[in-house]
């Protein structure tokens, strides 16, 4: 076999992801060019705020999908943690930090529970999480029967703006004017948060044995088992980490809206959108192929598509239709490959 150059190999093994990045780049650049205030910090801040929660939830969905399953509870866990956070994120700094910790712990624990049900109850993930999702929503409604809550204002403002505003709010780095902060001053904080979580949590996970086991399970569970990989641990870890990411989404949502809302419809919408984002990001629903970074890109593609309705003049009553058609076309992109398949058996993996 001819050895391919490493970039060729990378491209070959990551077509889906590369396509997604290209699509996002084109869509986002065009959007900025059309926007009256394109390529400005304000637009970037707005965009990243809007994308943050769905980006986290899409990352959460990635892990179960890599296992070859689906998590229908991610939106609900986001909602649950959103409600928890709306109760806890106020008071002195230590209390807020504790609240954040407890919020993330809630989601992580819920994910852990999902994992245990899937592993020890041996129930298919999609069904198990359909049920636990309902439980999460129920708990959210118990905590917050009606929308509200008072998240610390400064926190909300600081984390939903640029680095400068963050420094300004908390009087750090000479109120944001320090020379060394200049190069970063215009970067939106949510971007930093997402990148931080992706780099500090996802990347190491992927390079750990547990992370690789997740891929192996999705690709061939029997083989992974026979190879002596820690199957149960990896599955539980995947759902737990999924719960953690969903909690990041819920936490951010609470900070962004300074409140909590046990909205069933919204939870459902986030779950479904997370699946779409995962697919758009080049992760295979069959498992074993893809990455949370791809889902991040997929989530942003979903968002950018809806940005266009605000700058183009499109009949409002046609917008849902256009959105649906664009989604359908986008997920059908990969289909061209299957139409070219010469050996029909290759279709049935």
């Amino acid at each position: 076999m001819m050895r391919k150059a490493s970039w060729q190999r990378w491209l070959y093994q990551n077509v889906g992801f590369a396509t997604a990045v290209l699509l996002l780049t084109v869509l986002y650049l065009t959007y900025n060019m059309l926007h009256p205030r394109g390529f400005s910090s304000a637009v970037a801040i707005q965009n990243s705020n809007e994308a943050a929660a769905i980006a986290f939830v899409a990352m959460a969905q990635t892990l179960p999908v890599l296992l070859g399953g689906l998590d229908l509870s991610v939106g609900a866990v986001m909602t649950l943690t959103n409600c928890v956070a709306s109760e806890l994120l106020n008071g002195p700094a230590w209390q807020i930090l504790l609240g954040m910790f407890l919020t993330l712990l809630t989601g992580t624990a819920f994910g852990f529970m999902n994992g245990c049900i899937v592993v020890y109850g041996r129930i298919q993930p999609i069904i198990a999480t359909l049920a636990t999702g309902a439980i999460a929503i129920g708990l959210a409604l118990l905590i917050r029967p009606k929308p509200g809550g008072n998240v610390d204002d400064d926190l909300s403002w600081a984390l939903t703006n640029s680095v400068y505003d963050f420094a300004d709010t908390y009087g750090l780095a000479e109120g944001g004017d320090a020379w060394w902060l200049r190069p970063f001053a215009d970067i939106p904080v949510p971007v930093i948060l997402i990148v931080f979580v992706a780099v500090a949590v996802w990347v190491p996970f992927r390079r750990s044995v547990t992370g690789r086991t997740v891929y192996a399970i999705g690709s061939a569970e029997g083989a992974a088992y026979m190879s002596g990989l820690p199957i149960d641990r990896a599955k539980i870890a995947a759902f737990t980490l999924g719960g953690f990411f969903a909690a990041c989404g819920g936490l951010y949502l609470a900070i962004q809206t300074s409140s909590g809302n046990a909205d069933i419809q919204q939870a459902g919408a986030y779950t479904l959108n997370s699946i779409a984002a995962v697919v758009l990001g080049g992760t295979s629903l069959l498992g074993g192929v893809g990455s949370a970074i791809g889902s991040l890109v997929g989530a942003m593609i979903l968002r950018v598509i809806s940005f266009y309705f605000r700058i183009l003049d499109i009949d409002p009553l046609l917008q849902p239709l256009i959105e649906g058609v664009v989604l359908l076309v986008a997920v059908s992109f990969g289909a061209f490959r299957t139409l070219r398949v010469k050996n029909q058996l290759d279709l049935f993996r």
């Binding site: 926007h35 968002r303 009553l317």
Partner: protein, 355 residues
Amino acid sequence: GPEIVSGPGADPECFAPWSADTKYFQWEARPAPYRVAVVNGFVGNTWRIQMIKTAKAYAEDPAVKDKISEFKVVSTGTDAPAQLGAIEDFINQGFDAIITIAVSPDGFDRVIRLADKNNVVLVPFDNVLDTDKVMQVNEDQLAMGRTWAEFLLKELEAQGKTSGKILEVRGLPGNSVDRDRSIGIHEVLDGSGGNWEVVQVVGNWDDGTAQKVTADAIAVHGTFDAVAAQGGTTGVVQALRDAGHPMVPIAGESENGYRKLVAQYAEDGLKGISIGQSPGLVAIAMKAAISALEGNVMPQLISVPLPVADYSSLEDGVNFWTDLPDNFFTVNEFPPCGVNISGPAIMAQSEEDVK
């Protein structure tokens, strides 16, 4: 941001303050035409569609056409970040006014702050915010609940009943409108001195759900003396009919289908009252936004009068239409405000005809 000033405000016929202690706002006047955006949330029901069509038609109305240079409507679904994002995007684009139906009564602090910073007039209506920092437009939900209950009591008294069993069909759980309407109903019932047993079921303001839960309630509880339904009232009446339940006084929303049924069965005892949350509210919100941009003094909370009709005042072709679909909402005009886009004009014609 707006200055807090003292009243009275402009055009009090139309922009009635909510109560005596409602604050007044005033923005710096700026020259027309303005750029106006409507940020809707959910879009998959007739009320919202009618609202969007009304908004578009009103933007073309001669009274405001010249004052609007650009008009955009987007629907974001029940997704709070998306709605907040859309509002912020329009602020960034330099729009002058943004009308919105909030997906949640909370969580708008950031966009309110940005709107004030950029001198953008943000007007939530229908689902309003739990804040007094923005100008808002709504009907008084508490009053609606009270009116419903008062009507039922009056009809029951006419039958000689001062106690009995009432079915209350509630709306979406957790929603402030649902809560306020229910509080209004119970206030009046509790205060009446009568002995009323109220059975609550959750109908989600949706005909199908309301019909199903009403049918179940009848199967379990037998007959009721009256029904108060927050929404999905057509479904509720269907359930009464299907179960062979006697026609009783009923309080409900303003769906055309419900009014048709009341008109048809009033003789048989379906003494109904119909009060609607009108999709036409959007036009008043737009009008208020423009008025604010012109520098007028505006009440912080604008109360739009309840459009009430009961079995005695229903008239085909005037406040309901037998030849039109059941789903559309009958109340669409507000003459004191010069909002004269009637329901049939919106729903029965294609868009070209409206223009």
